[in-house]
């Protein structure tokens, strides 16, 4: 019975000498290797010692995370007012003293409140802002799946609409496929009822 199903699959796979799944597998493998390669390369480049340039880059990263207290909607990195410049100086001094990014952020939060951070903290009540978007996406995907399933169920009740005829040069080939399928379907209905599920699962695949 298992063999039967395999035979059906083999005959219907339209190009027998071009096994799709092998290629798909190869592609997946290549993709996985490429991703690993990228990650390894990325790690290798980031494990250097800290130079002056790296410190400045870190400082700029911190600048981008701190809002300017007097100008609406600008970080101290963007703003050109005096207090922003002073805050930038403080960031660099503290980095040079060996303080971490979190410590520097905390220093400013203690003085100005959490609103000084450009990025809402990922803790406490503010977790809400981070959690809602993925939840909405999940919920949306769930609804979408249900819609697709419901619409497909509706479709099976419908009369199959007229399909366009394929181009003329495909015609003999397609009718050969049709014949082959009719033959196989007859063959399997002549077999015991046990074969039913196999045919169904095969139909599902082709769709």
């Amino acid at each position: 019975m298992y063999c039967d199903a395999k035979k059906v699959m083999d005959t219907v796979t339209i190009e027998r000498d071009n096994p799709t799944w092998k290629v798909l597998l190869t592609l997946t493998l290549i993709a996985v290797i490429a991703v690993l390669f990228i990650i390894v390369a990325g790690c290798a480049s980031s494990s250097k010692t800290l130079s002056q340039d790296d410190l400045e880059a870190m400082a700029q990263g911190i600048d981008k995370g701190l809002m300017c207290p007097v100008c609406p909607s600008e970080t101290i990195d963007q703003s050109q007012v005096q207090i922003a410049n002073q805050m930038q100086m403080i960031v660099r001094e503290k980095l040079a003293e060996g303080e971490s990014q979190d410590e520097i952020f905390q220093f400013f939060v203690d003085r100005y409140g959490a609103g000084i951070l450009a990025e809402p903290p990922k803790s406490g009540f503010n977790l809400l802002i981070w959690i809602i978007p993925p939840m909405v996406l999940l919920l949306g995907s769930g609804v979408l799946t249900m819609i697709v399933l419901a619409m497909r169920r509706g479709h099976h009740g419908q009369v199959e609409e007229e399909l366009p005829t394929a181009s003329a040069d495909m015609e003999p080939y397609l009718s050969a496929v049709d014949q082959e399928i009719r033959r196989l379907t007859q063959e399997s209905t002549r077999d015991t009822t046990k074969d039913g599920p196999n045919i169904q699962s095969f139909e599902g695949k082709v769709e």
Partner: protein
């Protein structure tokens, strides 16, 4: 002048009321004459509002400072050309501009709709006139641009210095026109719902106007990015500021709409979803106007602060409630005639596309309103800045680019894995090859590699289709250029869409390049000194100051070298406006396809030294090239053509899809 303005505003209100009630009664009484008369009144509204616009311009030209609006936004020293900008520098003028634009759009809809959406035209007209009357009434009763002062000031206060930039001549008007044009596809869909013509009659008109609104708003946003890049002087172009977000959200929802409307056009599906989507899009556009007119969130765009915003919020609420009431009244007649056949089909891919776009719009809205939520529930105003949007929306955009590379090649109705394998083998291999080459070339940030790889996927897929199409036509005896031109002309919505997709890829390249590999340095130089930034050597030659009537212009001269080659002299400039205690900078930008060198004069110190902020922004030029290309794509997609014979005639690799269809029988 002001009297004439007031009179014409009242006249516009009267015309709007007549047109709305006339078209309603005309349908009710089955009187074609009354309907025609109402539609004619709509043609007259741009005339009345045009006169109002002209009188406000006249008041600016004649420096009529008794008009409060002119006194607040103009001065004797202001150059005449800035009248154009001063016109919409505040709420009152912006409202007049928006109303004028809407009246012109309405007239165009009535003119072009008389053939295509005839049956629902009176209802569409009704909706348009209600929106127009809202704007005119707000002007007359709450924010009159022609309001008078009791005393006549000797001079006006002058125009905000940040608005004095070529970008300001086009960015705000284009953006406002774009936002208000959202009312048109909304009105067309609502007209169809109200009149009960809930089939596919409205689809072509709705799609056309949806795309028009989309490209105008998109152009407005791009021009705003360009303005931010060249004048706000922080080296970037997009800051996820609430006002930017408020014009980004409707654009994103409209992007979803112009995709999903194609499914209804081609397959008669999503009949319920498309009207709902356009209602949401118009809701976001109204939300955008609410934020723009003085909403409750702080923004760099706070030019016209007032409490007027709340009226807009109220109007938005009423619009949404009434639209969805109409929608649910027609709910049962909106069932699709066809159902989805397979989860692996173009229709299903469009659904995923819509899900992603709507999620992005929601995330952005959530970020905009979260500070208020936080204020209410924990008594602390939290800032939601760029890092939030980059982290949450960034991956969603990458998913969209992936979908853009895959979905156009999934056949309608149902695809087989073999179809996909055939269509996508070459693009996927190219994408992986590009990713590997980039890593070998030293681009090692994983997100950047993924972004560039996905861009390659899209480009390879589109090029493959173009080359194959042109080749097969060439075999039938057409020369290559003719073959390519006829291929594009053969199915304009499809190939116009591809051009737009390529433009989006350029946009993505520019954004990815400049956000992942931006370099920024602050340098302090005395005249004659030089400093190295990246590969460049920057030499400060000197500066000169020029006193103008209302400002001091300080212009620095810097010379740029790379590996001892002289690349040119550049002149970053900083203007100081004592009246506003405000400075505006003009960055000097050396733009190449690879990267921009961007020099901003920070400050000129007493001792002759100058502070410069230097950015190296890779690939930014492609963002600006994307704009015209997007426009070209839209023109191709909208260019009228005889309908493609059947919906299925042109699916890619149609042979195998058809065969799998036959197999299921």
């Amino acid at each position: 002048m002001a009297d004439l303005g007031n009179i014409s505003l009242l006249l516009a209100l009267a015309l709007g009321i007549y047109s709305a009630t006339g078209s309603m009664l005309g349908v009710w009484q089955k009187s074609p004459q009354l309907v025609q008369s109402a539609l004619n009144a709509t043609y007259l509204t741009p005339l009345a509002l045009g006169v109002a616009t002209a009188s406000l311009v006249g008041a600016f030209v004649s420096n009529d400072f008794q008009v409060e609006y002119v006194a607040a936004h103009s001065s004797l020293a202001m150059d005449t050309q800035y009248i154009w900008v001063a016109f919409y520098a505040g709420n009152e003028g912006s409202l007049l501009f928006i109303a004028f634009a809407l009246s012109m759009m309405s007239a165009l809809v009535i003119f072009f709709g008389s053939r295509t959406i005839q049956a629902s035209l009176p209802h569409t007209n009704l909706v348009l006139m209600i929106v127009l009357m809202f704007f005119v009434a707000v002007m007359i009763f709450l924010a009159n641009p022609f309001a008078r002062l009791d005393i006549i000031p000797l001079d006006g206060q002058g125009i905000n210095p940040l608005l004095r930039h070529p970008g300001m001549f086009i960015h705000p008007p284009v953006l406002m026109t774009g936002l208000i044009t959202f009312a048109v596809p909304f009105a067309i869909a609502m007209g169809a719902l109200i009149s009960g013509k809930t089939g596919d009659e409205w689809v072509d008109a709705g799609r056309t106007w949806g795309i028009i609104a989309w490209i105008i708003l998109g152009a407005g946003n791009l021009l705003g990015m360009w303005w931010a890049y060249t004048i706000l002087g922080w080296g970037g172009y997009w800051g996820w500021d609430p006002v930017e977000n408020s014009s980004f959200m409707p654009w994103i929802v409209m992007t979803a709409f112009i995709h999903s409307i194609m499914v209804q056009k081609r397959r008669g599906m999503f009949r319920m979803w498309n009207p709902a989507l356009i209602i949401i899009a118009f809701g976001f556009a109204q939300f955008g106007m609410f934020i723009n007119r003085g909403g409750p969130v702080p923004s760099v765009h706070s030019f016209g602060q007032s409490t007027l915003g709340w009226i807009f919020l109220l109007f938005m609420g009423l619009t949404m409630v009434s639209s969805f009431c109409v929608f649910f009244m027609r709910y049962s007649s909106l069932k699709s005639t066809r159902n989805l056949e397979s989860a692996l089909s173009r229709e299903a891919a469009f659904l995923v596309n819509n899900l992603l776009f709507l999620t992005i719009a929601f995330v952005t809205l959530w970020g905009v309103i979260y500070p208020l939520i936080s204020d209410i529930f924990q008594g602390e105003i939290i800032t939601v800045g760029a890092p939030f949007y980059n982290q949450v929306n960034g991956p969603l955009f990458l998913l969209l680019i992936f979908l853009m590379g895959v979905a156009p090649f999934i056949p309608w109705q149902h695809a087989s894995w073999l179809n996909l394998y055939r269509a996508l083998m070459m693009p996927v291999v190219s994408a992986i090859a590009v990713a590997v080459i980039l890593v070998l070339a030293g681009v090692t940030k994983p997100w950047a590699v993924i972004a560039f790889g996905l861009c390659a996927l899209v480009v390879a897929g589109i090029l493959r289709e173009w080359v194959r199409g042109a080749l097969s036509r060439h075999k039938r005896g057409e020369s290559y250029p003719v073959a390519f031109a006829r291929l594009i002309a053969g199915n304009r919505p499809r190939y116009g869409g591809y051009v737009a997709h390529l433009a989006i890829v350029l946009l993505a390249l520019g954004i990815a390049g400049s956000s992942f590999y931006e370099v920024q340095r602050d340098i302090v130089l005395s005249p004659g000194e030089s400093a190295d930034v990246g590969d460049y050597t920057i030499k400060y030659v000197g500066a000169n100051a020029l006193e103008r009537a209302d400002r001091t212009e300080a212009r620095a001269e810097v010379q740029v070298f790379r590996e001892d080659n002289f690349l040119g002299s550049y002149y970053p400039q900083r203007d100081f406006y004592p009246a506003f205690n405000m400075a505006s900078t003009k960055a000097a930008i050396r733009s190449t396809p690879i990267e921009d060198l961007y020099i901003i004069p920070g400050e000129f110190l007493e001792d002759g030294r100058a502070i410069f902020r230097v950015h190296i922004n890779p690939l930014v030029m492609w963002i600006w090239i994307a704009g015209p290309l997007l426009f070209l794509g839209v023109i191709v997609a909208l260019w009228p053509q005889k309908e493609v014979a059947t919906a299925y005639a042109r699916r890619p690799s149609g042979g195998t899809a058809a065969s799998s269809g036959i197999v299921t029988k």
